[in-house]
Every structure is written in structure tokens, then in C-alpha cells.
């Protein structure tokens, strides 16, 4: 905390390099089963981080982030199956398509604020889910398999999938940090904290929000496509399941909304809880909900908020030292 700006960014850069190398060599040492679990952890972390970015950095709370998870998966499956393209090459296209979808609905949903905004995106997710459930060409309720990867070498698919998921998690940490320190990150924070003041210092509030919403949508879309690519099958009930929202919320809230580190802790707790309580079904979901309630009452900044407050330990701090202080 006392370290000055440049040296702190140097530490983060070193950490980024170490993580990069560690992730790059992981598939050589890990069994395929564990690789699959890691893909799941990384993609779920990416989902959570997309929501964290939206809620904690852009100041837009959405209850419909599962919309982009499902859209990303369906864009990928449909295009890959129709043209027989290797799905890995389609991920940039998924980003663009999900971003475009977000851009298309933004002008309308931006008219609503707070909870109404949050629920309007959920409504859109429901419309898309119900539409896909009825369309036979999209597999209706039973969903679609991913054809192309069937004929490919299993190990190659798993390892490539791992690299994509790891890349998303890497971006979720270091990309978010990098973005938060840019001019646009500063603008986002200003808009989140006080719209009026942000506008007064010359920030275009609407476009800043728009940028954040589109980026979060595109990112969640790619993460959703990666997740469903690793299970080779997608169906509307699962891809647009509001329980995705429950998971994202739990991870971000428990960890600490608006921090880079919080969702890392949140994801770890989530997967540990899931391993311990597997088979208890509803009890486990109830616990996730109760944890969110308690966090809101006791420590609205989450676990990471407690750590920062008590120990002043904030490796990914994006706040700059005040120029007035000595």
C-alpha cells in the first residue's frame, strides 16, 4: 500500500509473467480430468469477473448475465456446426456477435435504472431462452451437440480448451487491472461513483457505460462459448439458467465487488463449497443465497474488503495516491 505507483505496476507485471508461464506449462503436468475441472473453474471465474466488471467498475447491475453465456455458446455451436469450422477460430467472432447483441439492446435497457435495468436483461434472457426452446433448427429444448470437435484428437481439444479458459482467467485478472488503470478505467469509475460529476468533468456518461456493457457482454459470451465447448453440448435450459446468475453473484459478493482479487477468493470458496456439499442439492443453493444476505448485512465489501481494511494489503490497487498528500 505504501509502494508508489510505478513499482506497484512492476510487481503486477512480474506476477502476470509468472502466471502466464505457470498456465502455459500446466497441461504438461496435469491429468485430463483435472484439466477439465480447471477449465470449469477458469470459465466460471471469467463469468463472475464479467459481472464484477459490470457491477463494480461500470456501475451497472444486471440479473441477466446468463444471457451472454447462452448467446455465446449458441453462436459458437450454430456457426461451427453449420460450416464445419474449428470452434476455436470462432471465439473472436463470438466476442463480436455478443458485443453487437449487447450494443443492440443497450439503447433500450439503458432507459431503465438500477433494479429495473437488472431485471430487463433477465427478461431478454428469458425471451431468447424461450425462443430457442421452440426452434427445432436450434435443437429446441434438447439442445445441440458440437459436431466438429468429435473428429479431432481429444487431448488436443482438451489442451486448447484449457489454454482458452486460462487465457480468459488471465484477462479477467490482469486485463481488468490494466483496463482499470487506463483513462477509460478512470472514466468508468467516475461514472459509477457519480454520474453528474463525471459529466461535469467532460466524460460522456452514456458512451462510457455503453462501452462497459458491450465489453462485459462480449467477454461473458466468449467465456460461455468456452464453457459449453468443453462439455460438447448446449441446451437452452442450462445455458440461460438464472442459477448462473446465482453463482456469479455469490462469487463476486463473497469475494468483494469492484475488486480484482475478490472474485478469485470467491471462486475458490465456491468450488470448495460445491465439492463439500455435492449431493445436497437445494441446501447448497440455499447456503449460497444466505451467504449473499449475510455479506450484505455484515460486510458489504466482501471478504477481500475485510482483508484490505485490516491489513491494507491491496496488490491490484487501481486507486492512485492523491497528489495533495506528501
Amino acid at each position: 500500500m505504501n509502494t508508489s505507483g510505478p513499482s506497484r505496476t512492476r510487481h503486477v507485471a512480474i506476477a502476470a509473467a509468472v502466471c502466464f508461464v505457470a498456465l502455459a506449462v500446466t497441461p504438461m503436468f496435469v491429468s485430463q480430468g483435472n484439466l477439465r475441472l480447471m477449465i470449469e473453474i477458469f470459465t466460471v471465474f471469467a463469468f463472475a469477473q464479467s459481472w464484477n466488471f459490470l457491477a463494480g467498475y461500470v456501475g451497472l447491475m444486471s440479473f441477466g448475465q446468463q444471457l451472454f453465456i447462452g448467446l455465446g455458446a449458441y453462436f459458437l455451436f450454430v456457426t461451427s456446426n453449420a460450416y464445419g469450422i474449428n470452434p476455436f477460430w470462432l471465439l473472436p467472432l463470438v466476442f463480436v456477435l455478443c458485443g453487437l447483441f449487447a450494443a443492440a439492446v443497450a439503447p433500450f435497457v439503458f432507459r431503465l435504472r438500477d433494479a429495473y435495468f437488472a431485471i430487463s436483461i433477465w427478461v431478454i434472457a428469458e425471451i431468447v431462452r424461450l425462443y430457442i426452446s421452440q426452434k427445432d433448427s436450434l435443437g429446441s429444448v434438447s439442445g445441440l451437440p458440437l459436431m466438429v470437435t468429435r473428429d479431432m484428437d481429444r487431448t488436443v481439444v482438451a489442451v486448447s480448451n484449457f489454454y482458452v479458459a486460462a487465457g480468459l482467467a488471465f484477462l479477467g485478472v490482469f486485463g481488468l487491472y490494466w483496463l482499470a488503470r487506463r483513462r477509460i478505467g478512470l472514466a468508468l469509475a467516475a461514472v459509477r461513483d457519480n454520474e453528474g460529476t463525471a459529466a461535469a468533468v467532460g466524460i460522456n456518461v452514456w458512451w462510457t457505460r455503453f462501452f462497459g456493457f458491450v465489453l462485459a457482454g462480449g467477454f461473458a459470451g466468449v467465456a460461455g462459448a468456452t464453457y459449453y465447448m468443453s462439455v460438447f453440448h448446449v441446451e437452452p435450459g442450462g445455458a440461460f439458467d438464472p442459477n448462473w446468475m446465482v453463482v456469479m453473484l455469490f462469487i463476486v459478493i463473497i469475494g468483494g465487488v469492484g475488486t480484482v482479487e475478490g472474485p478469485i477468493i470467491g471462486t475458490a470458496i465456491y468450488f470448495l463449497l460445491r465439492a463439500w456439499l455435492s449431493g445436497t442439492g437445494n441446501l447448497y443453493l440455499m447456503l449460497l443465497g444466505a451467504a449473499a444476505v449475510v455479506t450484505m448485512l455484515v460486510a458489504s465489501k466482501g471478504l477481500w474488503g475485510i482483508v484490505t481494511k485490516r491489513y491494507g494489503f491491496e496488490p491490484f490497487a487501481t486507486r492512485r495516491p492523491s497528489p495533495n498528500k506528501p
Partner: protein, 292 residues
């Protein structure tokens, strides 16, 4: 003729939808609190009704009275114990709190009552019908609409004429200033939340009498409530009523055209209204409907 009958039935259903939205809209109008758990409270009320109606004297439909009273109490508790603690300029904590509550409620109901579809049995009344202008209408749906209209009117009347209603409207206008006049706005909020949940509980029980419900119905109910409030924001207090009727008619007409569509067309109509209305929707951000 069949279409006229469908539309008439849509209007009857719409009155009930409006009632679902009223609780949410009222809570938001007074406190700017959006209770995301509203849908699951509606389902919980239906379960309470399911267990109470065999003991209800005179007629099963009167079960709405004890359920509303219980919901009123729960609402006061909810506001005092939980929501009042996270109130503030920032809306996010209370929205997340109620979202967490919704998850707990929904999954709690699944584990206690099972995921089966249930319905409150009102006896033969379900099959009674009468002919009106050549249409065959059910007695129960008409009765439900009448109850909805009465509750709307009663709430409006009570807000406009009673002392408590005046205090609630004043608190909705400015909860800081009313404190200067000796009003504890937290108590007013608790009462308002009690009323909001009582209204939703009545809607939940009536919905369970007209159709069926499962512990998972809460999400759909919340979306309906939300759509009613947003469409209703176009006008006034009664705008919500129109919102409910728009959704009710849409749903039944769509059901005739495309039986598998479910709530999709209702959602689409809502979204079209959202696109078309130039700036009317921003009026839900004001509490105009609850000022006089």
C-alpha cells in the same frame, strides 16, 4: 367470438397480474426499494394458503384474509430486520440482499414442499360459469378481477384520505423532511413493506386458485410484476392496471396462436413497449403515482 372470449379472459387474468405488480410498484414508489424476492414471497403465500384453506370457514376463497395478515407481519419483519439495515443512496446492497433472500426462499420451498405442481382447491367454484354477451366466462376469474379492482381502489382511497396514507405519501416524497415532523421513516417503511407483501400474498393465493404453481414459479411471477410496473409507469396508479391487462391479454391470445410460447410473447410485448415509449418509462423513477 372465440377471440372476444379470449380477450375477455385475458382482461380477467390481467387484473390478477396487475395485483402481482401492485406490491412491487407500491414498495418501489414509497421506499425506492425493489424487492427482488417478491416473486418468491408470492409463491410462499400460495403455500401458506394451501395449508390454511382447509381450516377456513365459509368458503376457501376467504383464505386470502389470514394469508394477507401473515404476509403483512412478515413484511414488517423483513423490512425491520433486514432491508432497513442496508438502505442508503446506493441501491445495490438492498437489491442483492433481496436476491439472496429469493434464492434461500425458493430452494427452501423446494426442499420442504417438493418441486411438484400444486393448486389451491376452491371446490366446484372452479367450474362455475355464466354467459355474458354471448361469451362464456368463469365465476372465479371474474371474482378474482373484482377483488383486484377493490384492492386497487381501497389502497388508492386509503392513501389519499387516511392519516397513515398521508404519512406514507409524505415519506415517499422526502423521507428526510418527514423526520422533522416527528415521523420515524423506518417504521413507515416497515408498514409499507407489510402492505406490499400483503397485496402480493393475495395475488399469490388467487393465482394458486386459478392455476397451479411450483416452488420455481417465483421467477416468472417476479418478471410479470416487474413488467406490470414498468408498463404501468407510463401512466398513473391505474397505469399498472393497464399494464397487467396488456400482459394478460397478450398471454392468452399468444397461447391460442402458439401454445408452446409460454410467457415469451408477454416478454416481447413488454420489450416493444419499452422500445416505443419515448421517455415515458423514466416516469417510474419518480414516485408520481403515489403523490396525489
Amino acid at each position: 367470438m372465440i377471440w372476444l372470449e379470449t380477450i375477455a379472459n385475458g382482461i380477467l387474468l390481467g387484473g390478477l397480474y396487475a395485483l402481482i405488480g401492485l406490491g412491487l410498484g407500491f414498495a418501489f414508489g414509497v421506499m425506492r426499494v425493489v424487492n427482488v424476492a417478491q416473486g418468491d414471497f408470492i409463491v410462499a403465500a400460495a403455500f401458506i394458503g394451501l395449508y390454511l384453506y382447509p381450516w377456513t370457514p365459509l368458503h376457501p376463497i376467504l383464505v386470502i384474509v389470514p394469508v394477507a395478515l401473515i404476509a403483512f407481519g412478515i413484511g414488517i419483519l423483513l423490512q425491520r430486520v433486514l432491508i432497513n439495515r442496508v438502505l442508503g443512496h446506493d441501491q445495490i446492497p438492498q437489491i442483492l440482499l433481496t436476491f439472496g433472500l429469493a434464492i434461500v426462499l425458493r430452494n427452501g420451498m423446494v426442499s420442504w414442499f417438493g418441486a411438484n405442481s400444486q393448486s389451491i382447491n376452491v371446490g366446484n367454484m372452479r367450474f362455475w360459469g355464466f354467459d355474458f354477451l354471448g361469451m362464456r366466462l368463469g365465476v372465479l376469474p371474474v371474482l378474482v378481477l373484482v377483488i383486484a379492482i377493490m384492492l386497487f381502489a381501497a389502497l388508492r382511497f386509503w392513501l389519499n384520505t387516511s392519516r397513515m396514507g398521508r404519512i406514507i405519501r409524505a415519506t415517499a416524497d422526502d423521507h428526510q423532511v418527514v423526520q422533522l415532523l416527528g415521523v420515524n421513516y423506518r417504521n413507515v417503511y416497515a408498514i409499507a413493506m407489510g402492505i406490499a407483501l400483503a397485496l402480493s400474498a393475495v395475488a399469490g393465493v388467487l393465482l394458486a386458485m386459478r392455476g397451479s404453481f411450483t416452488p420455481y414459479s417465483g421467477a416468472d411471477r417476479l418478471l410479470i410484476a416487474f413488467e406490470v410496473v414498468v408498463i404501468g409507469g407510463l401512466g398513473s396508479f391505474w397505469g399498472m392496471f393497464i399494464g397487467g391487462i396488456v400482459l394478460g391479454v397478450t398471454q392468452l391470445v399468444a397461447l391460442k396462436l402458439d401454445p408452446a410460447g409460454g410467457l415469451m410473447y408477454g416478454h416481447i410485448v413488454f420489450f416493444i413497449i419499452l422500445i416505443l415509449s419515448p421517455k415515458g418509462l423514466s416516469s417510474i423513477l419518480t414516485i408520481k403515482a403515489f403523490r396525489k
